[in-house]
Symmetry: D2
Subunit: 358 residues, 4 copies
């Protein structure tokens, strides 16, 4: 269950403090140019330790392509990429080895498997998302060939909501902020929480443009359903909305329905998806992140023996994960769309004839 | 792409006004007692035409089990169930055949397939959800054997939010209301919209109790991710939240983390899921439904030729779909949990030994 | 596990003496004309009770299409087909209910599920293959659009081997014989076994012509591997060979390699598949059927309590199943090729561009 | 399509002369001890260059485990293993880059993908099977816990058939010969072909002992069907038989049926599988390998431009691949059984209760 996608399918492996993490991307159409530098750059967008709003922990995310590419071009065979964990010197895990950090997956992994890689969260660490970003970069290269663009940014931090959706601005913002007007206030909220040894949550908006109408596989691989799965599966995500989302529930049908004119839809409350299929409009998704569970205050928990203990984490952690989460959300959206693009190729007999009869 | 689940897997078929709809449920463990009457009752909970708050359209949902059951017991082979569409006399579809109803999947199906079953929405109709409820009923029978209970109800209608979560009350409420205090107000909002030939949306809450810790398959078949997929794939759903959900984003980590004591978790803001795996607490999910797209006001749209036209639907439709949607959400939750229960059986060598070595 | 195929995927359900058997075919490209009469005719080719070489048991195989077709055209939604078991009056199964028929799946189903539908073999009965033939007929309709033709016939009966591969002749032969020269001898062998209350086995050859080069998905969904799975999964099959097959093992490389000239391959010992991918030549597959396990002689077995008993079956059974098996093998080959056709549509970026960019 | 298995599922990647090959094994039950040395030893059994009967080409198959194992124990997360291709100095591929080697997948890869990794066969090279052997070694470690043993050996070389099935002897034989009586003759046949710059084929027999009755998932993931897929998917395999296999077709039912007594089956012509489900007897499979396509004689072929050319390969290749193929067949059988073991754990409600209710 470490794979995602049906036709454009990637598998990830690796633990936070193990030898390496990586991904195998299957289904990449042969002939696609694989820009290794682009993949590396995408990884660097996700990498922590770049400014004071995220963790000071350094991750060395140098990706190596092991297969599937010949002279810069995808051959149709699986593209394996690996990122070695350079910084895996033996540390002292005694503080967390025997107990369950609140808000973390320590307890549930122990319950499920009876064993748990306690080193930095093991597989449940957000470090695994680097592999998603690498796979997502390949997906983006494919989408580009069809003029499909995926972007994301932070709309809300600690309840402070922006109004503008400036995705260009977000790319250069240290916290991926979409609205320069509130960015300052949002940064301050992060720093304040950091000083209090605490953390904050936020909301990421993902946008996809240029998606052709017709993508999404009803009834059980709908575009919106798979986006919801992709987003909710990102570490720390607790809510996903499409288009007007939760707000739609308070509208009347006459306000919510997107009517149509000759030029297309007259509004986009649907967020680009109708009946689980793209309608050609912008796809807009809201992704809600909880505050980072790693905080540096004393908390109550239990140990492996079920005894009550208190824990006070040490170290370096993001006081705000949604900025890096935005890069992961972008990657997951690209991966979903790449998969849907491949799946959609056979929905009509006519399309199939184009492929085989030229 | 008309199947859902990996091990407890169901496939549905059928169009709103075709010959029949149905489902094939695969992976049901042999030996499970199949209570046909219970399945029928579940279908009746979803059936429209039962009161003035839903559509007056009658659907005859008489389920027939075609296979997989011998003398009331599942044999381990697929359980096929079919519901014939008794009421499929030829009607006059000329009003909708040539144009796209706003808020419906008419346009996107046409774009995807180049052909569309215009009769009552065809496959994109909510009628298909009857098949999910039938499959979900089998899942519930399985969950019962493990004392897992799934319930749902309506928390919010047209922006009117209840505070109480009385799932017992909801079962007997005509609108599946969770809070008797606001039910009257909520009903009034529905009727007002109905009189205005309009519709309203709402929020459903699904709760699962008795779920053992350890269910959910990281990293790409996480329990929360698959619940999100299952819920977002229900007709008219635009948002899904787990536990504190969207509200979590405005909290600090110190407020949001569920600390632990000897008796278990001291709070349940996580909604019963940590790292994509159940933690033994109640699973709580919010599902947001848009207002029914079928309204009886004049709307702008285009026809198959791309010409601007206006449409004014006639007939009988739900002014509020979330009440029936709650039954579907319950079914989907049961189906997800049944699948996870089967998947989880092999997560430990120890479990496997219990199975094979007695 | 009652589904086959990844993109052109069918699911079957039903027991020999249950209410109905049927299939749900998913992934049929929209726009394909569905010739219901053709499907019915394919079923009749498989139907027993048509001459003295097969069982005298009548099966009423009237197929009903329940969904997925509008005005004779596939809409892209699942095509469900059902065949009701008209002749399921309650019989006396006491002779077989409590014991395991040698050569049948009675023992293994009991071991696996702890319960077994003893009525006529239940799900393990060859009756289930009618559902495959119905699904296969839809696959054939798709293949026709690409001038791909699948045929099968009986090459060997009871060790009597034909030399000629006359697929046209086989269509009209009562035993699907490929070689009119040995057909008489083969028929005699069947009748002799029948008189001796015994049965015989045989070999079926399946041929596919017009298969474009490039079908098959390395490394683990190779065309030959999936054909092998499809054929070995047919009731009573114990061996599968591709091209020169077993004989290849006694050749030298210099004899076996198919060399190439301007016009293509100079020979076809590979049977149309190289490296798991079609090479444009005829695909040739040998399928070996064991003798029907249902014989009318006294045999030793045990009962549910593990006690030794003897059994002497009564009733009507095929003394030779390979003739009907040939029709099933044809269907399975068509289903594999249809799936590969869909899968292959996205192997190249260039193909994908043809689909989306016109 | 580079994954195999449903629950015990492995994915492979890598090309013959690329950076590395490897595998990701998913679904390994937590708690299984992972003996890295055993995995390495299995790889060495497959490695070429060990004696004069195989190629003199050296492959360095040093496996590195990248994830999924903590302190020698599987944690339930994916086990990634990589084998770097140390010996990938740039060579001169000009002799094969522009043309298609007879009997190889060069032509079909070019047809399918429009591009082909010409370096040593790329992905279609038997080098990929090292990854299967690594994954298979993990499967064997799991099977051991249930006392299931998988062995293989060479029964026939160049038409010279052994009679004895001495699997212990095979382990130490340079050509994996099962019958010491004919081994000398078989070796001679290989050397003769080698001297003639030619190659020979052969037959491998795989045996599994200790398989509990009840493994195999009807109707479309039958044990025999999946074994057939697994074996036919091995490079150079052209035929697969179960139990009496092809010989069964010439028997009468009364000779072929395995009757039962108090102690179990009185014979094992079925090869341990009935109705696609294991019956507790030994599983016996015959796998037929064609002669190695790489021969050092002049052959006719065409180049990328479709022009007729002749080719005379240089270098080092196996005159006989089935010996190494036997190790791969063993691995694939272990992988199939491991998958079936996991799948079978949920076939009965009773089993599921053992897992969850202790």
């Amino acid at each position: 269950m470490n794979s995602f996608g049906l036709r454009f399918r990637f598998t990830t492996f690796g633990e936070s403090h193990g030898r390496a993490i990586g991904t195998v991307v299957d289904g990449v159409p042969a002939g696609l140019k694989i820009d290794e530098e682009f993949i590396q750059k995408e990884l660097e967008r996700r990498r922590p330790g770049q400014n004071k709003f995220t963790t000071a922990r350094k991750e060395s995310d140098r990706v190596e392509i092991l297969s599937g590419v010949l002279e810069g071009v995808a051959t149709g065979t699986p593209i394996a990429m690996v990122i070695f964990n350079r910084d895996q010197r033996s540390r002292d895990y005694s503080a967390i080895k025997e107990l369950f950090r609140p808000g973390h997956a320590d307890f549930t992994y122990q319950q499920k498997y009876g064993i748990r890689d306690y080193r930095g969260g093991g597989r449940s660490s957000a470090r695994e998302t680097a592999a998603r970003v690498a796979a997502g970069a390949v997906a983006k290269l494919l989408l580009r060939e069809f003029d499909i663009e995926v972007e994301a940014g932070v709309a809300e931090v600690a309840g402070i909501e922006g109004r503008e959706l400036n995705f260009d601005y977000a790319r250069s913002s240290e916290i991926m902020a979409l609205d320069p007007q509130v960015e300052g206030e949002q940064k301050e909220a992060i720093l304040k929480a950091k000083e209090a040894h605490d953390s904050v949550g936020g909301c990421v908006i993902v946008r996809a443009r240029g998606v052709p109408p017709g993508l999404g596989e009803p009834i059980y691989y709908k575009l919106d359903a798979v986006i919801a799965e992709a987003m909710m599966g990102i570490n720390a995500v607790k809510g996903v909305e499409i288009g007007a989302g939760r707000e739609a529930a308070a509208m009347r049908g006459s306000d919510h329905n997107d009517q149509m004119g000759r030029e297309g839809f007259l509004s986009n409350r649907a967020g680009g998806i109708l009946g689980g299929i793209s309608n050609g409009e912008e796809i807009l998704v809201k992704v809600w992140f909880k505050p980072t569970p790693s905080i540096f205050q004393r908390q109550r928990t239990i140990n492996l023996q079920g005894e009550e203990v208190s824990i006070e984490l040490q170290g370096r952690h993001d006081p705000f994960v949604a900025a890096r989460g935005a890069v992961v959300a972008e990657a997951m959206m690209a991966l979903v769309l790449a998969d849907m693009l491949l799946l959609g190729a056979t929905s009509r007999l006519q399309s199939l004839k184009k492929v085989y009869n030229g």
